[in-house]
Point group: C2
Chain length 303, copies 2
Amino acid sequence: MSAGSSIGVDVGGTKVLAVRISVEGTVQDVATRPMPGRSAPEAEVEHAVVEAARAVSDGDGAAPIGVSAAGLVDRAGEHYLFGAHLPWRDAPLRSRLAEQTGHPVVLENDANCAAYAELLLGAARDVDSALLITIGTGIGGALVLDRRIVRGANGLAGEFGHMQVVPDGLACECGLRGCWEQYCSGRALERVTRVALGKHRDGPEVSRMALDGDDVARQAFATIGTWLGVGVAGLVSAFDPERVVVGGGVSAVGDLLLAPARSALLGSLQGTGHRPVPDLVPAALGPQAGAIGAALLARDGRP
Amino acid sequence: MSAGSSIGVDVGGTKVLAVRISVEGTVQDVATRPMPGRSAPEAEVEHAVVEAARAVSDGDGAAPIGVSAAGLVDRAGEHYLFGAHLPWRDAPLRSRLAEQTGHPVVLENDANCAAYAELLLGAARDVDSALLITIGTGIGGALVLDRRIVRGANGLAGEFGHMQVVPDGLACECGLRGCWEQYCSGRALERVTRVALGKHRDGPEVSRMALDGDDVARQAFATIGTWLGVGVAGLVSAFDPERVVVGGGVSAVGDLLLAPARSALLGSLQGTGHRPVPDLVPAALGPQAGAIGAALLARDGRP
């Protein structure tokens, strides 16, 4: 049992990832569970969260648990409202998980969790304002101003993935059409690759192929990287952040994604040549950023 | 001569509008001058600004002047960097105008000026966070959080009009394609009307026709109103503001623009039914909002 440690559990579209961190933020243990799916009963997904947390808890029944969830979480961190990739709808998720685990629980949107981790320990440590984009199954986003996460009037700020980028575009799991995450996400990467190859490859396979030099896979990353830059340009026009930090599983290929994104950012931003353009950099904390940030938020009482 | 009064000058795409306000914000005098045009020499446009300010100054050589300009103004309020509708490029506009007028001068982006006026005296008086959209020749934007204008790392936040909404869309004066203001602005209104009628009507004429019940003009407002709602939905996903305030000359038709916008906002926002949707309301201060806000910013030392 580790005094002062805290637990973070990240509930994503494909898996549930739990970490235990020391009070300084060092990862001490990791566990994963399969995500039962977006159409699974709510209780089944809650069970996977509880199991993952228990697997890293080291017998410390008082360790606070932070839960990082893709989708809309209310401002108070009590309710999970809606999300394209998770089953809950208007569910009092924080209290349910506190009851089921017996631990103190805080609940936060996954991209806000990742942003908090990058802000305290990662690629946004040295700036006052940043835009954070997490590219996994979908797109998560967060905005940092004056070193604080902007939550919005209802806690729903940063849902960049569902901004429309193509009128009457591709159908999205959220029920709308043309959402940014249909063009720039793990699912978009798989779709672009499937169209080019005539067969399915999952996201991690496409990443390996691209890193091994495969042209089709590299072109697929260039396509979604260009969409990344176009969307980021719009957000830079809106927020004018000091830095743009890109994380999530799909960003693990580094410049194969980020170089075309930088190029599209420059090509899609008003007044370049007359204005500073923010750096577009990789996240520092890798695929555990959401879980680590959730644990840090639990440690700090969800500031 | 009026003790404690301040002057605001709004430099727009088609005219230069000056007001003098009392220390409480009451408008005491108004003057306009033609805007020489986006390709006119910088000095000629500066002359129009100085003349408009002089016309309302009432002999008070100490009255601070706030200058509201469409386009990119640096964070310090010293330089006008770039704009689609005005001629200056990287110009030290604040000091030039201070020298030419002999008055203390502050310089601010026009939408930030209008937002400051709405925040202190208008439609955002009673909220903590708001998104402000000004629809004139183009689109101006501003973001208010915790009752302060978000200026961004370089002072360039709120340039919503140049977010791409249509890939490879209509060419914009800024040099890009598919910018939101090509689909939702006075120029867009004129274009949509011209396509439908086969002849040119300027924005104010189309507004009068729509208010008189003309179907073509009403349909043109419905078209740009729908684009307004789609763009606002993206910004609401990103910021989650408490209220959306729409001003500028094009908004003078009220619900002929705002009703289709509300409907498109509801239809383009993720998770409606599971989340609060902000009110979309008309600005309260009318076409003088930019000039009044500039005068208020001059009075308050540009907070």
